[in-house]
């Protein structure tokens, strides 16, 4: 009977809630941005290597499979940036109240998707469609 009340490891009884999702998303998007960093360097190196190499790189990054990757990285960029600012406020001790944290989390997730999609279309327009 007493056994029932024994504390369990947090790992065994933590309920899945929005905080877990937002937190793990911050990590996943961070890792994706790490991959995106290598693409940024690839692009900069191509710019430095001259017009021909740059055209090749832009064509490669414009291929459908890379477009999916780049869209994922753009969404990650928006989420990680916005949620990162949210975490900086947490570090300063601001916004820890349950309702506030929940509202800011929701706002960050929604804003990230909107910002990502808007930026994607703006960038697509400046790319001139295909490339």
């Amino acid at each position: 009977m007493a056994q029932r009340d024994r504390p369990l490891s947090p790992f065994l009884h933590y309920r899945w809630q929005y905080t877990n999702t937002l937190s793990i998303l911050h990590r996943i998007t961070g890792v994706l941005l790490g991959a995106g960093f290598f693409l940024l360097v690839y692009w900069l190196a191509a710019v430095a290597a001259g017009a021909e190499r740059h055209a090749e790189a832009v064509a490669r990054l414009g291929s459908p499979s890379f477009q999916v990757v780049l869209f994922g990285i753009l969404l990650s960029f928006c989420y990680h940036l916005l949620n990162g600012v949210r975490h900086l406020f947490f570090d300063a001790g601001v916004g820890f109240e349950r309702a506030t944290a929940k509202a800011s989390g929701r706002a960050v997730a929604i804003a990230a998707v909107i910002l990502g999609v808007v930026l994607w279309f703006v960038l697509g327009a400046s790319l001139g469609g295909a490339a």
Partner: protein, 128 residues
């Protein structure tokens, strides 16, 4: 009464022997990246086209090349700190962990040097 030595208390490095430098560096680079990231996103969005001449024209101005180099350095630094935490949390085997941490750090340093060199070449007009 504390059992810590006065020297240990003054140095403030704790059991990890690195104090709060990792935590602090992650935040410093984060603040810098909010600004550099916003600059980069706005720059790309207003670039108009990804023609080579246009990109070079943008990146070869002194201010823009300084910001681009800072973005590369700061992003590599932030990624090194962040990926280190992820690896330390999820890779349990010590041998694998050390190898992965070293591989990530080396790859990021190579990429950062490559990126900065590329920005310098663009800035000094080596590219044709």
């Amino acid at each position: 009464m504390s059992l810590r030595s006065p020297l240990g208390r003054v140095l403030g490095l704790g059991s990890a022997k690195s104090g709060s430098s990792h935590w602090y560096g992650q935040r410093v680079s984060a603040v810098a990246l909010t600004l550099l990231g916003a600059w980069f996103a706005v720059s790309l969005a207003t670039l108009g086209s990804f023609e080579h001449a246009r990109v070079v024209g943008w990146l070869s101005s002194p201010l823009q090349s300084v910001l681009a180099a800072l973005l590369v350095i700061t992003a590599a630094w932030h990624a090194a700190l962040g990926l280190q935490v992820v690896v330390e949390d999820y890779v349990a085997a010590k041998g694998t962990r050390v190898v992965v941490l070293l591989a990530i750090r080396f790859a990021l340093i190579v990429a950062a040097v490559t990126g900065v060199l590329a920005v310098l070449r663009i800035a000094f007009g080596v590219a044709a």
